[in-house]
């Protein structure tokens, strides 16, 4: 009897140990995964890092034939499309956030808005791109014809509008959460002084949640930078820098993600491939920085998204 109980105990102990090891193993695997991603990117982009150095970021010539690779046009393209997208989406995401976080936290109308946001976030990027080719590109083309601009249709602005629609759910959900976290007594104090709801929102809620809203914008920016398919389909993919304000908005350009999507399978030489991987490395580092910063701010505010 006693021997039996010890063997049972022993076997259960070993299987317990094995099980806990499996659990811990999964966690270590996830950590190792991220580290390996970073190492792989650095390792594979090393030839380009070594050859071009800092010039890779400032160089404006991207010529696979002569083997000269400067990524400045793509960096600019990414920054311009993302910032434009943020500016366009800001009023929309803020309205949604104020409505769902302050005016109507529950009820049928807020249910509708929540579902709209969820669906907007759920539509695949490639379908956004396709719909934009079909719907948005002709509109932009008409506008360009009417204003004597070369009617490409595909342009930085087209990409920015599509991006703006795609990032509304991200910045709206973070902003909604921090707005609904505003302490009740602060709002009540404001009402008791005779302030209207609009004044409370403007003077109390927005200032109180400012850093949380900023965090939402950072996260949305991180999304916008890495967004590939929809942008690739409507940005026109040309490696030129904007010369003036018209070309800034209405000329085709390229982003870091779209150049990878377009040229990766065509990269014939090692240095070409390695340059594209260096762009991926830059994307990885930039999105990582934006994500960590955004989440740090949210955590400090006591939210949990």
């Amino acid at each position: 009897m006693s021997t039996k109980s010890t063997t049972v105990k022993k076997s259960s102990q070993t299987s317990e140990g094995a099980f806990l090891k499996v659990l811990a193993g999964a966690v270590y695997l996830i950590i190792a995964l991220l580290i390996c991603i970073f190492i792989t990117l650095v390792w594979k982009s090393w030839p380009s890092l070594k050859q071009f150095g800092f010039h890779f970021i400032t160089g404006t010539t991207w010529d696979p034939v002569s083997g000269e690779f400067g990524g400045f046009p793509f960096l600019m393209g990414t920054v311009i499309t993302s910032i434009l997208a943020l500016i366009i989406s800001f009023p929309f995401s803020m309205s949604i956030a104020i409505f769902l976080g302050e005016y109507n936290k529950t009820g049928w109308l807020s249910d509708i808005f929540k579902n709209v946001i969820e669906l907007l976030a759920g539509i695949p990027s490639v379908i956004y791109g396709f719909a934009a080719i079909y719907f948005l590109v002709p509109i932009i083309q008409n506008f360009e014809i009417n204003h004597n601009i070369i009617p490409y249709g595909v342009s930085t602005l087209t990409a920015a509008i599509v991006l703006a629609i795609m990032i509304i759910p991200y910045s709206a959900s973070v902003a909604r959460e921090v707005i609904s976290l505003t302490p009740r007594d602060l709002k009540e104090a404001s009402y008791s002084l005779g302030a209207t709801r609009f004044e409370t929102i403007r003077r109390i809620i927005i200032p109180y949640t400012r850093s949380g809203i900023a965090a939402g914008i950072l996260l949305a920016f991180g999304r916008a930078i890495g967004e590939t398919m929809a942008v690739t389909m409507v940005i026109g993919n040309t490696n030129t820098l904007p010369k003036d304000l018209t070309t800034l908005f209405f000329a085709p350009s390229n982003t870091m993600a779209s150049v990878i999507a377009n040229e990766f399978t065509e990269a014939t030489s090692d240095i070409y491939l390695s340059s594209l991987i260096e762009i991926a490395l830059l994307l990885f580092i930039v999105t990582l920085a934006f994500n960590l910063l955004g989440r740090f701010i949210i955590k400090r505010m006591g939210g949990n998204s």
Binding site: S12, V27, I30, L33, T196, F264, A280
Partner: protein
């Protein structure tokens, strides 16, 4: 005078609410447009032959997308097989060891991993799988999608398991059940609805991903069930057809978009049903 100023403030108040409501409603416009076009154009192309036949070469009308449908399902299936065990076990570990240092590091890693652009993950899968094996394969696409599913599964599992009251675990332990059996037979089953939700959300999230498949699964005009060979998938097909110059292909892209959207919506509805059915209240 004061009356007027109060009036002015009240009007401003109402006006602001109206503007907020108006701009919020405008967000539904792109959604309605996209859905309208996909349903209108998609239904026009969809037929039984479209769903069950292979693509025809350029110039020949007709043809279908059956290889892309089976490809999408197979790639997601393999990705789930890879991601679910790692994600669930990792999530359970994080929920059970809240204060350890490794938990903090892992949590940050999961958050970072969630933010990594999908195109970068595609490149990683290319470098890790496609390059060493020497050819594009569905497996490499599945690995890329699995990496994207992992953070969602880990986080939802962790959140669910954290919500389970300690008393339930204590009841198991008090009966003399070993700790790992308590986890397997009590804790994980109690949190099943949350875990299943996380899994389906992650599947819905990657089902429409194109960028990670561009240089991994690559696409294939033929029927293929071998995961070590290139395979077509719906998002890839939509991308290739939508950017092609042929009107016939563009029409088919609408049909494929419709099918893809229906699959994603079905997954979402299943998720909501799963939550309602298996939700355990404490």
């Amino acid at each position: 005078m004061t009356q007027a100023s109060i009036q002015y403030r009240l009007v401003k108040n109402i006006l602001f609410k109206g503007i907020v409501l108006l701009i919020s409603s405008l967000c539904a416009v792109p959604l309605v447009l996209v859905l309208y076009f996909i349903i209108k154009k998609g239904i026009a192309t969809i037929s039984w032959t479209f769903l069950t036949s292979l693509p025809k070469p350029v110039g020949e009308t007709g043809g279908g997308i059956v290889n892309a449908i089976t490809g999408t399902l197979l790639i997601i299936l393999v990705a789930s097989v890879i991601a679910i065990p790692i994600g669930v076990f990792g999530g359970v570990y994080l929920a059970e060891n809240k204060k350890s240092r490794i938990t903090n590091i892992a949590r940050t890693c999961v958050e970072v991993l969630q933010g990594v652009p999908s195109i970068v993950i595609g490149i990683i899968a290319y470098l890790w799988v496609v390059k060493p094996t020497g050819n594009f394969s569905a497996l490499s696409g599945s690995i890329a999608l699995a990496i994207m599913m992992l953070p969602v599964i880990v986080r939802t599992t962790e959140e669910t398991i954290s919500l389970i009251p300690y008393s339930i675990k204590e009841a198991g332990l008090a009966l003399g059940v070993p700790y790992h059996k308590v986890l397997l037979k009590v804790v994980i089953p109690s949190g099943l609805s949350g875990i299943v939700t996380g899994i389906t959300i992650s599947i819905a999230r990657v089902a429409g991903e194109t960028a990670p498949l561009l240089f991994t699964a690559f696409g294939n005009p033929f029927q293929n069930f071998n995961i070590l060979r290139p395979m077509n998938s719906l998002p890839l097909l939509v991308f290739n057809y939508a950017t092609s110059p042929y009107q016939d292909w563009k029409d088919q892209a609408w049909g494929a978009s419709f099918v893809l959207l229906v699959i994603i919506l079905l997954i979402n509805i299943l998720t909501k049903l799963a939550i309602r059915r298996w939700k355990i209240q404490f």
